[in-house]
């Protein structure tokens, strides 16, 4: 257990708090708000996505409270409609899509490939500001009175009938899209051009592969949602346009354009998390990933084929049956690379050396929950079944299994795993494991009953429901309160650990990845000297051989690294 403390005998690096690192290289608000250091920008993102997650979580709690009883007795229906819409918008666009790429990806992509920074540090900072501006527009819509279209903004309700602040919220989503695009652009260029000597494509950690795939989706998909919500907002304002049938338009075209992005967007959400899971599984079982290249290319396959299936959200929308069949077929095809990943992760554990640290618990939870979530995706992709369960709680359960049980688990696991690198402190392991357990139990209690509800026919976005659905809804609400506690715990103890946690060593887990071969927290330029990579990904070695690159002396060279505010 004590392997992660600084007292490890072969630990070549001295404690961090003596040294100049990216956190203490500069002080003051401006040094954060104007920073071009990818690590600081990652922290800016960490703060802001957490804020949006809390807000979205509060909305989730409001949903679950309202649904305790069949009558609409807590809030009135307009309020409820705004609550789930805003829950969806905040969670999807302002939490889950940026969560892993913009926080963990931003922090780790350059370090893992041995670069000093992302290719375009200013654009990286710009992306955060764009995100913030998009967020402000959305929050502005929320405080002005909210938006009630559902996160899917379907026309003609959104263009013509809704009396809420659709335009503002749409602009928020539009602006936020560019933040995603800029992040993706930065990653693609960085991964292509900034790899350290010796870091060949097949030595890249799988985290990088999955971020590369994610970036492809961000670049190719996000512009389409941008133009779509822009047209929607303009149509709402000008009362002329292309989506409302009263104006000669076609509401189904809106759905095509919306899902052209929003289905690939679900892979923006899951792919980075899959990258995290690959790291966790390999590193906590001290074993190279089984079938590295299959896992790597399955990410690319998911990204590419993910663009071919959007019509599975429109099986009952009056889309042509033939198109529906094409989309259904392709949806099944795109499930295969996900299955390949799951099997490879499982096989990696064979004859390995598994530790039960918190990140690993999240990773194992991920595999189980993602399998359930993904398999229920196949229920939905089967047209005959989707006709029955479309727009019911079955869909709600499906996507929470993949988004919360999948992505959120991966995010929490990754956050714990890299926390020593990010903050220079260990999180409390006991609390970590306890919280992971609470999250797992709470999660299943919340969302499993929703599958049953969905098959029974309870439609989603319902403020009141038929009395026979109550028992399962109460179970779900009870689970949600456990889940809420579960996710609140890490927020508290991680913040606590920033001050009171044990000081982390450079390589607390004794792992070979490049991020573990620099100080914790790393200096501004990540490495004192550019590393030269001579080892494969997940090539585990005895601790003596895992040298930290460069020399860091306590209190040495206080002016190093050069200022890059």
């Amino acid at each position: 257990m004590d392997t992660r403390t600084t007292s490890a005998p072969f630990e070549p690096v001295t404690p961090t708090n003596y040294r100049v690192n990216y956190l203490n290289a500069r002080y003051g608000i401006a040094s954060w708000l104007l920073t071009k250091d990818h690590k600081r920008i990652a922290l800016l993102y960490l703060g802001s996505v957490t804020l949006f997650f809390l807000l979205g979580g509060i909305y989730a709690m409001a949903i679950r409270l309202e649904l305790l009883t069949p009558q609409g007795d807590l809030v009135e229906s307009n309020t409820y409609n705004k609550v789930f819409t805003q829950h969806g918008i905040l969670m999807v666009f302002f939490f889950l899509i940026p969560a892993i790429p913009a926080v963990l990806g931003n922090f780790l992509v350059p370090i893992m490939i041995g670069a000093k920074d992302l290719a375009f540090p200013k654009i990286n900072l710009l992306s955060w500001y764009v995100y913030v501006v998009g967020g402000i527009f959305t929050l502005w819509a929320l405080v002005s009175g909210g938006v009630d279209t559902g996160w899917t903004f379907y026309a003609p309700y959104s263009t013509t009938y809704s009396n809420s602040y659709v335009t503002l919220a749409g602009l928020g989503v539009f602006i936020n899209g560019f933040s995603s695009i800029l992040t993706g652009l930065n990653f693609i260029v960085t991964i292509h051009t900034m790899r350290a000597p010796g870091m060949t494509w097949f030595r890249l950690p799988l985290f990088i592969w999955s971020h590369y795939a994610t970036s492809l989706v961000m670049i190719l998909g996000t512009p389409v949602i941008a133009i779509t919500v822009l047209l929607l907002a303009l149509e709402r304002t000008a009362r002329i346009g292309i989506f409302d049938p009263q104006l000669g338009g076609d509401p189904v075209l809106f759905q095509h354009m919306f899902w052209f992005y929003s289905h690939p967007a679900v892979y923006i959400m899951i792919l980075p998390s899959m990258g995290v899971i690959s790291e966790l599984i390999a590193n906590f079982s001290r074993k190279n990933i089984f079938g590295y290249s299959f896992v790597a290319f399955s990410s690319i396959a998911i990204a590419v084929f993910g663009f071919l299936v959007w019509g599975h959200h429109m099986f009952v929308s009056s889309q042509s049956l033939y198109a529906g069949m094409v989309f259904s077929f392709l949806s099944f095809a795109v499930a295969i690379p996900s299955a390949v990943k799951v099997f490879n992760w499982t096989a990696t554990l064979y004859q390995s050396s598994i530790s039960y640290d918190t990140p690993m618990l999240y990773a194992l939870g991920f595999i189980g929950l993602f399998t359930i979530g993904g398999m229920t995706g196949l229920f939905l992709a089967a047209m005959g079944l989707d006709v029955h369960v479309h727009d019911t709680y079955f869909v709600v359960a499906h996507f929470h299994y993949v988004m919360v049980g999948g992505t959120l688990m991966g995010y929490l696991g990754g956050l714990h795993y890299w926390w020593p690198k990010i903050s220079g402190r260990m999180y409390p392991e006991g609390w970590g494991r306890f919280a992971a357990l609470v999250v797992f139990v709470g999660f299943n209690l919340t969302f499993f009953p929703q599958f049953l509800l969905g098959y029974m026919g309870m439609p989603r976005r319902y403020h009141m429901y038929a009395p026979e659905f109550q028992v399962l809804n109460v179970m779900s609400s009870a689970g949600a309160s456990i889940l809420g506690l579960g996710v609140l715990m890490p927020m508290i103890y991680l913040i606590w650990s920033m001050r009171y946690g044990r000081v982390a060593a450079a390589n607390p887990w004794m792992l070979p990845g490049l991020e573990w071969r620099t100080a914790s927290p790393p200096p501004t330029e990540n490495f004192e000297v550019t590393p030269v990579v001579t080892w494969e990904a997940y090539e585990f070695a005895p601790p003596e051989e895992l040298q930290v690159i460069g020399k860091f002396e306590p209190g040495d060279r206080p002016d190093y690294p050069p200022a890059t505010v």
């Binding site: 309700y157 189904v252 099944f332 499982t346 050396s353 005959g384 079944l385 029955h388 019911t392």
Partner: protein, 371 residues
Amino acid sequence: MQSWIPFPDSASTFSGQVDALYLFMVGVTTFFVLLISAVIIFFIIRYRRQLPFEIPRPIAGSLKLESLWTIIPFIISMGIFVWGASLVVTQYHVPKDALEVYVVGKQWMWKFQHLTGQREINELHVPVGRKVKLVMTTEDVIHSFYVPAFRTKSDVVPGRYTYIWFEATKPGRYHLFCAEYCGTNHSGMTGSVVVMEPSDYENWLSGNANQESPVAAGQRLFTETLGCASCHKEDGTGGRGPALTGLLGSTVLLDGGQSVTANEDYIRESILNPRAKLVRGFQPIMPTFQGQVSEEQLLQLISYIKSLSPGKTSGIETSAPARSNNPQTGPATSATPAAGPQQTNPSGATPPKPASSPGTTPATRTGGGRP
């Protein structure tokens, strides 16, 4: 209604088939989840870390295994695909001999009209053991007609007709939900489908018999209220406007050389936006009726025009793709005003009413020019 396993009522001819696929999927899922969980649990116990820094022997992978777990899931999923796709054809392929009911969704209620004239709101009475076809549209936003016990649903989309069908197998009262979010009272846009024994159904019909049938209502609109008959003749044999007898399901030659199959959507468009498809040989003299007829009245007109085509159902059999207006001609080259040879026109009189411009009546929220 509630048993200890939560499961919905099953009350249509294909609800059992949907359940079968569902249970099969549950089986496949359970199998894979248990398999993976069991393997993982076995591994994490068997291979738990013994020494802090042990380095297990690396294993690169295995092409055999990779192919195995690519191909097996692929085969399984293709099986599910075919099953699901054939099921949807059952669900959405509307049989010809079905009893027709008109459905109009509106924020936030369902309006029904039977061919025999009965009108209902949020409650639909149907006989057991009869195929029922619903011709559906909406006055405002998208709604979705969903009867869980029948395992079927379809969005109702403004500006076009969608169709579903079912054959109830068990008398009873079943939930009807609006499944597509449609605004404030979406969750209140519910009702029930009452399935009755044929005799009860006959009683119910005769108990509510004194309402005008849609055909009669359509005829009244046609001849009196809207004055269609002044051009199309009372019996629909045509005059300044084209003949409407035998129209449904036939192919109509258009000005400009294309032709269309006349179905409900075509008739609807011709009423609301008569200039969009001009029958060859006729002048564009017909005014638009946009804003003057409600969706229900449109359905009545359509059913009257249908009644002029005895023995014909709508030209459409499947429901989901029931969108009509899709010229597949190259852009800009069709509907050429000067292209087709002009046939003689019985009378070049001016329109009886000034054409009010479409699209300028958003307040009335009655559908619109069709996309």
